[in-house]
Amino acid sequence: MKMKKLLAALLTGIMAVSLVACGNPNPASAGEDKSTETTKETEAAKTPEKSEAVTLKFFSNVPDRTAGLGLLEETNLNSFKEANPDVNFETEFLQDEPYKMKIQTYMQSKNMPDMWMQWGHPAALMPVVQGGFAAELNPDDYKDYGFVPGALEAFTIDGKLYGLPKNADFWVLYYNEKILNDNGIAVPKTTDDLIAAAKILNAKGIQAVSLTGKDRWPTAITLENLILRKTADPKAFNDAIKTGTTSSNEDFLAGVNEFIRLVDNNVFQPSYLSDDYGTAKNLFIQGQAAMYVMGSWEMGMGSDETIPEEVRKNIRATKFPTVNGFPGTADDLVMWYGGGYAVSADSPNKEAAIKAVSHMLDPDIYAKNSWQKQIAIPPMKYDKYLTGNENNLQKDITEIISSAKSTTGATFIDMLTASFKDASEGLTLEMSGKMVSPEEYLSQLDALVKEANAE
């Protein structure tokens, strides 16, 4: 009987061990994949803790810590550490989508990191503020940072500042100077100019303006630019989105109709509805399209050596065109703040975290490096960091942002929930493909708002 029990236990044990053996033979290596996950302590954090040492948890959405924005963050954290030897950092980083999930988990468990990357648009910022997770910052502390108008407002709710922006993104019209010159076309200033240019270019087998429809949001933002030209009020459309009252406004309808006029006049490439981001960009950088509507972050095209030289050297940027008869000017920008930093209201080291975030965005560190290394457009004035060696494209982008008179601060698709963003982008594509009329588009948009508000 004893033998029987022993054998049974032995067999069960073997089964369990063999099942376990099917797992990852080297679990330690799984965590080494930087692209998926992880927590990393800076070298500084590994040093023996001193009695007054403070360790700040920082959560970032930039997984690559060896280049670009990730490297800039690491450099800035280390420079803060040098100035404040008692402060250590524990950095956790994930890619955008898992980042969004985990920050929600932190919110649910009321266990926010001391400082984290925070998107400024209402769909992301409101839950953080309403839950009391973000610490209030003092705007007076940032008077000398040179933030552009609207930048701090993007992180302000009910007059209180809850974060600091780190990116300024705005919509521009890139153009190939040589193609336009060769065809006797002046840089388009109005949508009529665009239509006239399209007629000349299309007749020669060149696409006028490259736009991506498959990625959806660029089409929505292009539409928002045209609506802004009609309203001349950067808040009008976004406010109407919040209240679900877009269909009652004739100005919005005029903006949508103007978009359809551009589509009807073949301003965009015939396949734009099904072209993804890469395809639309390739049309432009391969010289098959004369113009390209996209965000300012594509400024790097001017120095991207993978782009053929004859195209790269001729890439310029101009303000998104105005519309004849519409009151809006080219200095009204659809602009938003792609990301920023916030500090936990419940952090035991709140003051140190605020100090660290303030240091990371110090214009002498952040604006200078992000501009000179072409990492991002800083949301603050960066004229004094111009080196004089900027290429034409960088100069154009600088001119566009420095002459801005007003900015929207957010795009309409980001005003409410993630499901509103998804549905409104899809609806915009249906409108641009003429599957719904402009009037139906606005009324269905209002219905989506009501649905989002009811969630």
């Binding site: 029987k4 054998l7 049974a8 236990a9 067999l11 069960t12 089964m15 369990a16 099942l19 989508e97 969004k100 999930m101 985990k102 920050i103 929600q104 988990t105 919110m107 649910q108 696409q207 429809g213 498959k214 490439q269 015939p270 396949s271 734009y272 509805l273 099904s274 072209d275 395809t279 049309l283 098959q288 929930t417 993630a418 499901s419 963003k421 998804d422 549905a423 899809g426 594509l429 249906e430 493909g433 599957m435 719904v436 969630e455």
Partner: protein
């Protein structure tokens, strides 16, 4: 040893780890999915119980869900009406061909199935692109420029274009299975046909087709499964758009869960989808298996 293995307790202990793995990996997620479908969960937040609200929305308001189902059914029937007869025809042709040509064409027809769906999908996107695609250029070159259009952007042509691409991608598999069936028909049967004077259509409908019916059943089953769970090609080519003109249920489910963050709703879609699959299976069994065509 036999006594040990015959002991019920021992058997229980031996299968217990497997059962636990099944419970944790299969049963628990299914039950969780059922539970989450009754909530308004939106990602990492708390799951707020909303009763049957998600299901009511699917059945009363969600046009896209039903459009996706209809698209899957149309794809299933397209397999049966267009892809399978062509596959069978090519399988018979290959069989007749014999020699080296048979081997060469057999490989050629199967090549698209070996290449990644990502590659073939992007290839068709480029072929059909109205700006630089070769398809419209060929139409223009042969004087049929009137037919040239935005195949994947035009709401009127996008679905048929996607159907064509999906069927093209699955052609090799379908043909190979029929080919195996044709090869399985005994030479004696063909000889007997010849002696009896049965040739052409008569031979096909009276002898070949009945003998291929088991293979037809397999192919129809695989086709229906493939139609219902269609995802990758649609995601890569049109992402269901423009609008919902080329939307399929698995792609729609993915969008609701991972783009709109409506996890509760996406789970409800998954549950309804499973029920629909079960209903289709029952109907299929009644029509195909019971009648034993």
């Amino acid at each position: 040893m036999d006594k040990v293995l015959g002991n019920k307790k021992t058997i229980f202990l031996l299968v217990l780890p497997g059962i636990l793995v099944m419970i944790a990996g299969v049963l628990f997620p299914i039950l969780m999915s059922g539970y989450l479908s009754l909530t308004s969960m939106q990602g990492g937040g708390a799951a707020k119980f909303v009763g049957l609200q998600n299901y009511i929305k699917i059945f009363t308001k969600d046009k896209t869900f039903w459009v996706s189902i209809v698209h899957a059914i149309i794809l299933g029937f397209s397999y049966m009406l267009f892809q399978h007869p062509i596959c069978m025809g090519f399988a018979l042709l290959l069989d007749k061909m014999g020699g080296k040509a048979e081997k060469v064409f057999r490989v050629l027809f199967f090549i698209p199935c070996v290449i990644s769906i990502m590659v073939t999908s992007k290839m068709w996107v480029n072929i059909l692109n109205p700006t630089f695609g070769v398809f419209n250029k060929v139409l223009t070159a042969i004087g049929m420029e009137g037919l040239a259009r935005n195949w994947l952007s035009d709401p009127n042509t996008v679905f048929i274009s996607v159907l064509f691409i999906i069927m093209w991608q699955g052609f090799g598999y379908g043909m190979l299975i029929y080919y195996a069936g044709v090869k399985g028909i005994s030479g004696d049967v063909n000889e007997a046909c010849q002696i009896d004077g049965a040739t052409g259509f008569r031979k096909f409908f009276s002898v070949t087709l009945p003998l291929l019916m088991p293979v037809v059943k397999v192919n129809v089953t695989l086709g229906m499964i493939s139609a219902l769970k269609q995802m990758e090609t649609v995601f890569l080519i049109t992402d269901g758009g423009p609008g919902d003109r080329s939307q399929f249920i698995a792609n729609y489910l993915y969008q609701q869960a991972f783009r709109a963050f409506k996890y509760g709703y996406a789970n409800a879609i998954a549950v309804v989808f499973v029920v629909i699959c079960l209903v289709v299976t029952v109907i299929y069994n009644k029509v195909i298996v019971v009648e034993d065509l």
